[in-house]
């Protein structure tokens, strides 16, 4: 496996994001940026392949300047090279424009054998960017991969999870796979790895750097066929929120009464 590319995204730490129901605003100020948790599984899968088969791992990310920290983190976790696509021209991209931009940059990187993406991101939650990159690059893809069974220079065999069954699928290379959280447990970087990554150079590319492979009309908000009309932050109102404590006999009886009244308990069955 000569070259594996892992597209990664910096996302806010979801435990710390605050949602303002009334203002319809997402407050990320107290949430630090981190590598999308699903992408850590993709990176770990790539590094494990490198360890058994040799080759190099490149991470590539599109995002604001501060996403450099996540690209650097990927180097501490075993990537050999990190590229950050940062330019105002990329801002506001939907999955179509994002996948176009990443695929263009991958073309620019040159030869590759395998692209590994996380199943989805915890913020956008679409899972679309991986398969769309594969379409732009005109290579096969397998989504929802829970295991890599076998890989060599020419082909990869994976386990693909569909709802009713799992499939063993063989694909020639180059190919793209999107991996689920079940594929591995990402390792933590050692102190030495972190120190080494701190000094490493992160390549920064702008729209001008990919101008020979990417049509500027397809970048960012301008290139995005979908538009956000508005964001609604639902409150949990509408839920009864009746709490019972203390006398547990009384509590269970009351809850059972309420559920029975709704036809969910007892006599309706």
């Amino acid at each position: 496996m000569a070259h594996i590319i892992v597209p990664i995204k910096q996302v806010p730490d979801m435990e710390r994001v605050k949602f303002d129901t009334e203002a319809g605003r997402i407050d990320r100020s107290s949430a630090s940026g981190e590598i999308n948790p699903f992408d850590l599984n993709a990176l770990e899968a790539a590094v494990q392949l490198k360890e058994t088969l040799g080759g190099t791992v490149t991470t590539i990310s599109m995002g604001p300047g501060q996403a450099e920290a996540s690209v650097r983190d990927s180097l501490a976790r075993g990537a050999d090279r990190g590229v950050l696509l940062a330019d105002k021209a990329f801002a506001g991209a939907d999955t179509w424009a994002t996948s176009y931009t990443l695929a263009s940059a991958i073309k620019k990187l040159g030869d590759y054998d395998l692209i590994i993406c996380g199943e989805k991101t915890v913020d956008g939650d679409t899972g679309q960017v991986g398969p769309e990159i594969a379409e732009w690059l005109n290579i096969p893809h397998v989504a929802y991969v829970s295991a890599i069974r076998k890989a060599d220079e020419k082909a990869i065999t994976v386990t693909c999870e569909m709802e009713s069954a799992s499939y063993g699928i063989e694909s020639p290379l180059p190919a793209l796979i999107t991996v689920t959280k079940d594929i591995n447990v990402p390792r933590l970087p050692s102190f030495a790895d972190k120190m080494k990554a701190r000094k490493a150079e992160i390549e920064k590319w702008t729209a001008a750097d990919i101008a020979d492979v990417a049509d500027p009309a397809n970048l960012g908000l301008k290139g995005s066929p979908t538009r956000l009309n508005k964001v609604i932050i639902p409150s949990e109102e509408g839920r009864k929120g009746e709490m019972f404590r203390g006398n547990l006999d009384e509590a269970t009886t009351k809850v059972a009464d309420a559920l029975q009244a709704l036809g969910l308990f007892g006599s309706s069955k």
Partner: protein, 325 residues
């Protein structure tokens, strides 16, 4: 843009059986089509499925484009993509709806990229906008927000979550037009080597889910939940840490990285309610939470919360359920 007309539902099939999400999309599609005065069609890729086409009519399709070829019997990504893109380019529907199943979420993005059009992922609601365009509503940030999205290109495409839309009552008197299209087969590249069925647990279909989390002290204690689930006619689910500890199989997992469920009744037992877990169950009709910790976030989404030791509460609930049935 005006040349694009009508609404098309991708009819997903596995082993010759149409996935129920396709019928749900025909139901929603019919509602949208009636508002706009347009036609609902469906596209079916498969082999020897003539007997299934009528089902699409019974559930609301007025026209079914049928691409029949042995190479399309099973999901073959590149051939499905190629033939779907060809058909959409020929028929030019204004809207294309695809079930947000694993198959749909793998196929849809490739089709949208190839058609140079937008695709909104995993919608939970669809509305008709002021200009007759499709407003696609989807959860993001692990279900904490709902984004309202429109598409500036055509067709406007969306994948739609299973078990969210209502299908129409099956009506055998309904008929429609079958339009047979020849398949154009390309090199498939992806080779299926083996297949293992996931077993018969389908938690996404369950009407009642009793879900256990870290509050349970051992794998054996899930028997308590089995008893309650049995009394309620439901299925047992669990949180991610339980699967990580191999106490239960992945097919039982509820949450962001597991199954999304939407039962009539969800009973969370010893579940703290992480954002990732809430993302998989917050749309349940009625939520009951049992937890010893009154500050557990699960109580914020619960209709009924019982603060107490689950080892006391669950057997009581079970006997209440048995007594009343």
């Amino acid at each position: 843009m005006n040349e694009y007309k009508g609404l098309m539902v991708f009819a997903e099939q596995t082993e010759g059986r149409i996935h129920p999400v396709s019928y749900e999309l025909l139901g929603k599609g019919t509602e949208i089509a009636q508002k706009l005065g347009i036609e609902v069609s469906s596209v079916l890729l498969g082999s020897n499925m003539d007997d299934q086409i009528n089902e699409l009519f019974y559930y609301g399709a007025k026209k079914v484009y049928y691409i029949d070829h042995p190479a399309l019997a099973d999901f073959d990504l590149l051939n499905y993509k190629h033939n779907l893109v060809r058909l959409v380019n020929e028929v030019k529907p204004e809207t294309v709806l695809v079930g947000a199943t694993h198959l749909g979420r793998s196929l849809g993005p490739r089709v949208a990229a190839a058609l140079a059009t937008g695709l909104t992922a995993d919608c939970t609601a669809l509305e008709v906008g002021d200009e007759g365009n499709l407003i696609q509503i989807r959860p993001a940030f692990s279900g904490n927000i709902f984004a309202h999205i429109r598409t500036t290109t055509r067709p406007q495409m969306a994948t739609v979550r299973y078990k969210v839309m209502q299908k129409l009552a099956r009506d055998e008197s309904k008929t429609g037009e079958i339009v047979r299209k020849d398949a154009e087969i390309v090199e498939s590249l992806l080779k299926i080597i083996d297949k293992t069925s996931s077993g018969d647990v389908n938690i996404a279909e369950a009407e009642v889910v009793v879900c256990g989390g870290r509050g349970l002290k051992s794998a054996g204690d899930f028997a308590l939940l089995e008893d309650l689930a049995k009394a309620l006619g439901g299925t047992v689910g669990c949180t991610r840490p339980i699967v990580d500890d191999a106490w239960m199989g992945k097919q039982h997992q509820v949450g962001f990285s597991g199954n999304t469920v939407q039962p009539k009744l969800y009973v969370a037992v010893g579940v703290s309610g992480s954002p990732q877990h809430l993302a998989g169950m917050r749309d349940s009709d009625v939520i009951v939470a049992v937890n010893a910790d009154p500050s557990a976030p699960i109580f914020k989404v619960a209709d009924y919360g019982i603060v107490g030791d689950l080892y006391e509460v669950v057997p009581k609930l079970t006997s209440e359920a048995q007594r009343r049935s």
